[in-house]
């Protein structure tokens, strides 16, 4: 029961945060010079005053700011995020069309990163100071210091330009119109390079964090007690050290939610991956405010959800943490 009302309070908090997100970004975007009317007129190749005034009226850009804000808020409450100027499509529709791509890529990257990161970190922590440990630390430092977009382009250079094993760009082969299984295979192939770019970056973090957490946990007294009980090193490592080392890892995963859900703008841009990242980049370029606001809102909701899940996982992993 306590957990239920905890979840409710967190949902309410998430709601408040989302409203704050909307308010702040609404004004933030207004401070930019030029507006969507100039964009549409520009695209139409015809930008005289009369036409622009007509556009502004049509999209309500000429009303006073509070009126626009109120109109927008009431629309959002009803789930209507408005229409994207540049794309002539419903914002929600555009976002929901792109969101699965970002989540797919992030899920792939997260699984690879957490899996191998924790495994490598545990390996390194097993014999601190050994060659393996030094190698893992150096590798993770290296990937941690590498700009993601450059890492992506290096992978493209090696695996597409030189070895030509993997397709570098887009989510599917352009113009092939595969269906069913062939299409899945095609998407999988296209996902490898961007996925690995994201994964390598987070793998470095997870390896480092696991190593530190494991060494920290190994130094605790209860590990000495466990050995005093005559348990084998393997049992001590699995049941006592790793079990306690998981706790900081879970809170770290929570922290990353906003980065992942926001879609790594640069990686998606390098690989022309049609996710939220490229959508945000194009929206900024085209001064497409409703789309930009929509992206902020959707990410805020998803991040709150993700944080809630992480907190619940955290309270399961660590009995000491009450759900305050």
């Amino acid at each position: 029961m306590r957990r239920l009302c905890y979840i409710l309070s967190r949902l309410v908090k998430a709601g408040l945060v989302t409203v704050a997100v909307v308010l702040l970004s609404f004004f933030l975007i207004r401070l930019a010079p030029g507006d969507a009317a100039t964009v549409m007129a520009g695209q139409a190749g015809y930008a005289d005053e009369a036409y622009m005034k007509g556009l502004r009226a049509e999209y309500g850009l000429d009303q006073p700011l509070p009126a626009q804000l109120w109109k927008y808020l009431s629309a959002v409450a009803k789930g209507d995020l408005g229409t994207s100027y540049a794309r002539q499509q419903k914002v929600l529709e555009v976002i929901l069309e792109r969101l699965p791509n970002t989540l797919l890529l992030d899920a792939f990257a997260l699984i690879v990163a957490m899996g191998s990161g924790i495994w490598l970190g545990a390996l390194a922590a097993r014999r601190p100071g050994s060659a393996g440990d030094a190698a893992v630390s150096l590798a993770s430092m290296l990937f941690y210091a590498t700009p993601q977009f450059w890492l992506g382009m290096m992978l493209v250079l090696v695996f597409s330009a030189w070895l030509a094993w993997l397709p570098p760009f887009g989510i599917e082969t352009l113009g092939a119109d595969y269906t069913g299984l062939a299409r899945l295979a095609d998407i999988a192939q296209h996902m490898i390079l961007p996925g690995m770019t994201l994964a390598l970056y987070y793998l470095a973090n997870y390896a480092r964090l696991t190593r530190v957490a494991m060494i920290e946990a190994a130094g605790q007294d209860f590990v000495k007690t466990a050995r005093a009980k005559g348990l084998s090193e393997g049992q001590v490592a699995r049941r006592h050290i790793l079990r306690n080392a998981m706790i900081p890892l879970i809170s770290y995963a929570g922290l990353q939610a906003s980065i992942l859900v926001g879609g790594s703008v640069v990686v998606e841009n390098v690989f022309s991956w049609p996710g939220l990242g490229t959508l945000a980049y194009q929206a900024v370029g085209a001064r497409d405010n409703p789309l930009l606001l929509g992206i902020f809102i959707v990410t805020a909701v998803l991040v709150c959800l993700f944080n809630l899940l992480t907190d619940i996982a955290y309270s399961i992993a660590d009995p000491r943490a009450e759900l305050t």
Binding site: V17, M141, M154, L157, S258, I259, V266, T299
Partner: protein, 274 residues
């Protein structure tokens, strides 16, 4: 001076320190090494490194890559350091006040840092820079605005912990005012983690700046490592060095900074001091 010995204890830190100082020297000496600046056309485009008189080859416009890398270093270091100073300033002050006084200020700060955690930070800085019209100043402001919450969280944590320490109660008993306690008593002890965070943040600021200029949101009048890579998206297919070399410079610089950060962490760590 056990700190210095501790700082250079690990070989990585020494390497990091040397690399970083080398890069800093090159950045400062760029006008001497390449008096005519990075933009001058000195030959045909896309000549490979090692071509006559071109240590790092020529870029897509026939400009000397080595000169661009040297001048690029200035931008990266400048943005990295200045934005970190701003961020430490804002974040440090707010964190200190929130940590020391607690109450409403603390709650407010926590809500704001939470907000910055929710919003994808890179999208936010992209929006900020794009709308303030891309320039060096807007990049620095943008980066500082999205990174100060991290500093605030660290400083708040330090001040919360140190406020409980008994020498603070003793100082209050001795009649020291809040100001003297914050700056005289607590800050010296909180400096160590702040310096370590600052070093790491210079590294991440450089990464963010390079990402922004890669996306074309950097200052068009300046050449930075990120914009060089951005410009090489097509030429990399025919001239790998236009993309590889600037990226290497970024990685090496940030790696050096992280090594120094780790070294500082060991040297200034109070546990070692006891």
């Amino acid at each position: 001076m056990s700190c210095l010995r501790a700082f250079f204890a690990r070989p990585q830190t020494l390497a990091g320190f040397c690399i970083f100082s080398a890069i800093a020297i090159i950045a400062l000496a760029a006008p001497l090494l390449f008096p005519r600046g990075p933009f001058v056309i000195i030959g045909m485009p896309l000549l490979p490194p090692g071509a006559p008189g071109l240590a790092a080859g020529s870029d897509v416009l026939g400009r000397d890559m080595a000169a661009q890398l040297a001048y690029g270093a200035r931008i990266s270091l400048l943005v990295g350091i200045v934005s970190t100073i701003f961020s430490i300033g804002i974040g440090g002050a707010l964190g200190a006040v929130a940590g020391y006084y607690g109450g409403v200020v603390d709650d407010l700060l926590m809500r704001v840092t939470e907000f910055f955690q929710i919003i994808p930070s890179f999208v936010l800085v992209m929006v900020l820079v794009a709308f303030l019209q891309p320039s060096l100043a807007s990049t620095v402001i943008g980066i500082a605005l999205i990174t100060w919450p991290q500093v605030a969280r660290v400083v708040r944590g330090e001040f919360l912990a140190l406020r409980q320490r008994e020498f603070v109660a003793a100082a209050r008993m001795q009649g020291l005012g809040d100001g003297r306690i914050i700056f005289g008593e607590i800050l010296p002890n909180a400096l160590a983690p702040i310096i370590v965070v600052a070093t790491m943040m210079v590294g991440s600021a450089i990464l963010t700046e390079s990402a922004l200029s890669f996306l074309g949101l950097g200052d068009p009048n300046l050449t930075s490592w990120g914009s060089m890579i951005g410009g090489s998206r097509s030429s990399m297919w025919v001239a790998w060095w236009t993309m590889v070399l600037p990226g290497l410079c970024i990685m090496v610089t940030v790696l050096a900074l992280n090594f120094i950060g780790d070294g500082l962490n060991d040297a200034l760590n109070p546990r070692r001091g006891r």
